[in-house]
């Protein structure tokens, strides 16, 4: 039975929450400005709790099982993070309170900025961007501001490798740049010959996802960066895959000029069914003045008796605000807690074991699933979800995994691998979980030959069967029924 919607459950006259009667005289309501009716559901508290509890049971989640979703870094989200973000001292402070009343929050933000700088090798960080793609937009606008400040306005192109994240082209286009693609060579690196042809005085920058979406570290990274710099361009680092580099390499040291972090991937803040994320941006020294603000700084030095006073400053030639207030503070509390608990050594351990887990799974699967790029992977790898001798697609394998209570890997991305299955186990999964997944994958490969219909019809045990996506797009029912106003 599908779960009814809140409107279908609604019964006229039912009340979920009561509020006190006014303790002040009632003012006259502006009759001409009032709405006629309010078509909202009417439910008891218990009905609401049951409705959403029931809905929650229809979800797969990290708390429930293995979630090897490539490039999404579905690691365990420590529970302490949630408790800390809910402390009234964090959850109940207004963003416009006088800075003297929010020093704890400002210290936390300042320390997080410092830690992200140390982890990445950048000179300055703004915590404002709300998500990864928002960080990309911010970074590309910073690149634009840099060139414009130098009166170098003819630089209109951004190069994006075909192994980059899917959001990169749109982020560049939104910032007014022309997008030029560069291909990947047989080893999974940026094709240097192709890149060379594009390095001219029209080049504003290159957006590099490293490790790329094949899970491979760019072997010519120093050369790529040098070529772009020599042509007068800047290098944007897509930090979505930073989990593989924690304590292993600092993008700023390698010469990357600007990068976003995904606190919701690398630093364990929960994905929440699609957000909120958090996408701080780090830059090298020459770009610091363009960062979006305000950002946290010491506004009055301390002395032996007094702690320094933290406050907000706007970088000198800031691109401006990219959102209201200061960013997703609640996510910053979680990420800060996580970094504190891991410490420097713990961060390196994260990268080491994320890479170990991915290479282990690749070793266990590569005989049965074709892995087109076989060199050592970093935190993830891409296999082909198809075989020459059977008519089975990556989608069928993905859906069949659901029957074994495992979340499917990312499929059909990256586009440069045929029928891609992009597998990222993360460091928080133990060997038993990885082995169980590998065993199921091998079993599915066998089923593909022996009982292919089982895959094509999958899932069989999930809350629903496969959905009619064509009907959804053609009929476009985007709201449930609700009473007429």
């Amino acid at each position: 039975m599908p779960e009814p919607t809140v409107f279908e459950l609604s019964v006229a006259g039912r009340v979920g929450v009561r509020f006190p009667e006014p303790d002040v005289p009632c003012a006259e309501l502006p009759a001409a400005l009032l709405r006629d009716s309010l078509p909202m559901p009417e439910l008891s508290e218990l009905e609401v709790v049951r409705h959403f509890t029931h809905l929650s049971t229809l979800n797969y989640s990290i708390d429930k099982g293995f979630y090897p979703l490539g490039s999404c870094t579905m690691k365990y989200n420590p529970k302490i993070n949630e408790d800390m973000a809910k402390l009234p001292g964090f959850a109940d402070i207004h963003p416009l309170q006088p800075i003297e009343t929010v020093q704890g929050a400002l210290v936390l933000m300042y320390r997080l900025q410092e830690m992200l700088k140390e982890i990445s090798g950048f000179s300055a960080v703004s915590l404002q961007p709300a998500a990864g793609a928002h960080g990309e937009l911010t970074g590309v606008l910073i690149i634009r501001a840099y060139h414009h400040a130098r009166n170098d306005c003819a630089r209109t192109r951004i190069i994006i490798p075909d192994s980059a994240h899917g959001t990169n082209p749109a982020s560049s286009a939104m910032s007014g740049f022309e997008v030029v693609n560069v291909r990947t060579d047989a080893n999974g690196n940026v094709d240097l010959e192709a890149l060379k042809l594009l390095c001219d005085d029209r080049l504003a920058g290159l957006m590099l996802t490293n490790p790329n979406t094949l899970g491979l570290f760019e072997q010519n990274i120093l050369q790529v960066i040098e070529m772009v710099h020599a042509a007068g361009g800047l290098v944007y680092g897509d930090g979505a895959n930073l989990n593989a580099l924690l304590g292993a390499a600092r993008p700023g040291d390698l010469g990357i000029d600007v990068m976003h972090f995904n606190l919701h991937k690398t630093f364990s803040t929960p994905h929440g069914g699609g957000g909120p994320g958090s996408g701080p941006v780090g830059v090298n020294e020459s770009l610091a003045e363009y960062l979006p603000g305000p950002i946290v700084a010491v506004v009055e030095e301390g002395d032996d008796e007094n702690a320094p006073l933290y406050g907000f400053v706007m970088p000198e030639h800031s691109i401006g605000r990219v959102k209201a207030f200061f960013g997703h503070f609640g996510m910053m509390v979680r990420a800060y807690t996580y970094i504190l608990m891991n410490g420097g050594d713990g961060l390196r351990r994260i990268a080491e074991y994320a890479v170990l887990n991915a290479n282990y799974l690749m070793a266990r699967l590569k005989g049965v699933y074709n892995v087109p790029y076989t060199r050592r992977c970093m935190h993830e790898f891409v296999a082909e979800g198809c075989w020459k001798d059977v008519d089975i697609h990556a989608l069928d394998i993905a859906k069949r995994l659901m029957d074994y209570d495992i979340h499917p890997p990312t499929n059909y991305f990256p586009l440069i691998v045929h029928e891609a299955l992009m597998i990222e186990p993360t460091e928080t999964e133990d060997k038993q979980t990885l082995d169980a997944f590998a065993d199921v994958m091998l079993k599915i490969a066998q089923e593909a030959r022996e009982t292919p219909a089982l895959l094509r019809e999958a899932p069989h045990n999930a809350p629903t069967r496969r959905l009619d996506e064509v009907k959804a797009a053609r009929d476009l029912v985007l709201c449930c029924w609700f009473p007429e106003q």
């Binding site: 059909y412 996506e469 064509v470 959804a472 797009a473 053609r474």
Partner: protein, 130 residues
Amino acid sequence: MNIPVDLIYTQGDEWSKIEGDTATVGITDYAQEQLSDVVFVEFLVGVGDVVEKGQQIATVESVKAAAEVSAPVSGTVTAINEDLPQSPELVNKDSFGGAWMIRLQMSNEAETKALMDSDAYAQYVQERSH
């Protein structure tokens, strides 16, 4: 794969039917198959508009992909297929007939010479299937 012999083709998988100085334009059977179920067609030009060869004239969306349709030749738009936005599935069912997209009065008929005939297009499709 259906590739009618009386049409001419572009590398962008548009077909054109030439009758006098009029070109009727649509997307090929191969294109609709690559897109899978089409759910949306939008015209970017209207009757009376002058279009250049290569200019985008329509957008076609399926559940998993989007494609831009370009004018194979230059000319003035004399008709657009008003049925398509309401019935985008026509693109899948009848790509060479009911799913024609626009009609152009050509301004430079010589441009048709640069387009592929059915044999050349069949080979072009074949090459990409590998």
